[in-house]
């Protein structure tokens, strides 16, 4: 199951990581080197095993439908890269630019 340069470009796009051609080529070999070590896992018989790890077997706690929320000691404008009238601003995108917006 070797990683190809197209795979690297695909996952870099999914992860929104700009990767140039030279870096993509070196990543192919880096990832393949690491993944080659992982192939040992495929030799383990795990049939009939749960995929969930043995830890954290407890159930999720449920919180009351009641405020107050966790306060911010500093307002949004103190950390927002670009803010106006309380909104976060980002470069304009047309309404349906990205079909991933489900």
């Amino acid at each position: 199951m070797a990683v190809t340069i197209d795979d690297v470009r695909h996952i870099a796009a999914l992860a929104r990581l700009g990767v140039d051609d030279a870096r993509a080529a070196s990543l192919v070999s880096e990832l393949n080197t690491i993944l080659a070590h992982m192939d040992v896992l495929s030799t383990v018989d795990t049939s009939g095993l749960d995929a969930v790890a043995g830890i954290g077997a407890f159930a999720a706690p449920l919180g009351a439908d009641l405020g107050p929320p966790i306060p911010l000691v500093r307002p949004i404008e103190s950390f927002a890269p670009q803010e106006r009238d309380g909104f976060f601003l980002v470069p304009r995108l047309s309404t349906h630019e990205d079909p991933e917006a489900a």
């Binding site: 795979d7 990543l27 890269p81």
Partner: protein, 495 residues
């Protein structure tokens, strides 16, 4: 090559244990401002005496530290009961959110970010009267085992500045080793407290998954992450963990269990205690000098009355592989929030997509980028079952091995913390070589069990760590054994 820098000698309040200092503050013998000032002065002195700098701390704020110390003193004057860490200076790893001092995870992408809320662990330290004096250097987003992968420069080992302090919590381990503070917080995902504790010759404890709230710990791999504590001694570490342990309603994976008294676990003999010696952690090619130190520790434990029993944890040999699938997979999702929209770095590009890519590709370093891509790959369509699902199943097998060992009458396990002492800066050129330094530690993260590393001697002047592993939520037994072993080894632990 030995790059050891002569550290300035410790004196005054800095030489007291955390508990002794707290008691002195509680009695009114010591003004909380004094130890805080001493910690910052020592940090400055160390920076000044080593030309390259150990680069242990990323952020300090003397004014803020002084204000915190005055608040503690004021609480005392008003007659409030002194907290269990009253006036004790502490250092926090740079991935634990604090409302004073930046929280940047050693990454450029969070350059300048100051959290608008406190992590639960930070809040508990403040409530206990501790003074947060600094945020410490770390591998970017805790990805690394050497603190070389920090956007703010590599940290160095205070015992030998040509060597790494370990990682990813290298800065916190080094801060304790260099005598800046007696207690520091780190975080673990695969050994990031125990491994640097071993490399720096201090005590490092990773509690059971769920014992300490993760709320405010910037996530690397959520199912593995856990805040841990460094102490100069077992008692320092026990006191630190005592304060931050316990249920937190803000973390759904936090366990609603009572916290026993860890410092009270101290006891002399270990009669009736069965210590397992898992053969997979003593491979044939283990450095014989490390093996010799472990054998000496086993002798000491046996001398205290413990029974040493050979056991097997057969699936531990698959731990690194499972770990390096699960951790990057979760990281690829956890690090998606660093997108330049709401906080942290933003770099402009072509439209929104360009902004995302410019921000993330230049905000993250090489190791983080590699792991995000690895994690994205193993979760992506067509590969999930072969990698992520398989790794989680193997994780289940690893956890089952521990449960069986503990179910068969073994109370604790003892292993070397790392295969080797601290390596030289730049020694691990291949990512996978670096990954191997987690080989003995990441199993406890995968199984969720508590583990502790303490110094058990030196090799060529470099500390060697021994690791104790206990069943889920049995930190008290972990500390009991650590107290006993620490006392039995005495000065030999640092020779």
């Amino acid at each position: 090559m030995n790059g050891s820098a002569a550290l300035p000698p410790e004196s005054g309040a800095g030489a007291l244990s955390a508990g002794e200092l707290r008691d002195a503050v509680a009695r009114g013998d010591v003004d909380p401002a004094a130890p805080v000032r001493a910690a910052l002065e020592r940090a400055a002195a160390i920076a000044a005496c080593d030309r390259s700098g150990l680069n242990i701390l990323l952020y300090t704020d003397a004014d803020d530290a002084r204000d915190q110390a005055s608040a503690v003193a004021e609480r005392g004057r008003r007659g409030a009961a002194p907290g269990p860490l009253a006036g004790v200076p502490v250092v926090l790893k740079d991935n634990i959110a604090t409302i004073t001092l930046p929280t940047t995870c050693g990454s450029r992408i969070l350059d300048g970010y100051v959290s608008p809320y406190d992590a639960s662990a930070a809040a508990r330290l403040r409530d206990a009267g501790a003074v947060i004096v600094a945020k410490s250097n770390m591998d970017e987003f805790a990805m690394g085992s050497s603190t070389e992968h920090s956007a703010y420069g590599a940290a160095r080992n205070p015992l030998d500045s040509a060597r790494v302090p370990g990682g990813s919590s290298g800065g916190s381990a080094a801060a304790v080793a260099a005598g800046l503070v007696r207690i520091a917080l780190g975080s673990e995902t695969g050994g990031s407290v125990r491994q640097p504790a071993a490399f720096c010759g201090v005590v490092g404890v990773k509690p059971t998954y769920g014992r300490v709230s993760r709320f405010g710990l910037v996530a690397f791999a959520s199912s593995l992450d856990q805040i841990g504590v460094f102490g100069r001694t077992v008692d320092d570490a026990a006191l630190g963990l005592q304060v931050i342990a316990g249920h937190d309603p803000l973390d759904s994976t936090s366990a609603a269990l009572p916290v026993p008294d860890y410092r009270g676990a101290v006891r002399g003999a270990m009669t009736g205690v069965v210590i397992g010696r898992p053969r997979e952690y003593f491979p044939d090619d283990l450095d014989p000098r490390v093996r010799a130190r472990c054998d000496a520790a086993f002798d000491a434990l046996a001398g205290l009355g413990a029974e040493i029993r050979d056991v097997s944890l057969p699936h531990s040999r698959l731990a690194i592989e499972a770990y390096y699938i699960i951790a990057p997979a979760e990281a690829s999702s956890n690090l998606a929030r660093f997108d330049g929209v709401r906080y942290g770095l933003r770099l402009e590009g072509d439209g929104l997509r360009g902004m995302y890519e410019a921000t993330r590709s230049r905000g993250f370093g090489g190791e983080v980028t590699r792991r995000i891509l690895l994690g994205t790959y193993v979760l992506s369509a067509g590969y999930y079952d072969a990698y992520y699902r398989k790794a989680q199943q193997v994780r289940g097998l690893i956890a089952r091995d521990f449960a069986r060992a503990f179910g068969d009458g073994v109370h604790l396990l003892f292993t070397p913390t790392t295969p080797t002492p601290a390596f030289a800066l730049g020694a691990c050129a291949e990512p996978y070589d670096m990954y191997l330094s987690d080989v003995f530690t990441c199993t406890a993260n995968l199984a969720g069990v508590p583990a502790l590393s303490l110094p058990i001697g030196r090799v060529d002047g470099l500390p060697v760590g021994g690791q104790l592993i206990a069943p889920h939520f049995d930190e008290r037994q972990l500390f009991a054994a650590a107290f006993a072993l620490e006392r039995a080894l005495g000065a030999a632990a640092h020779r």
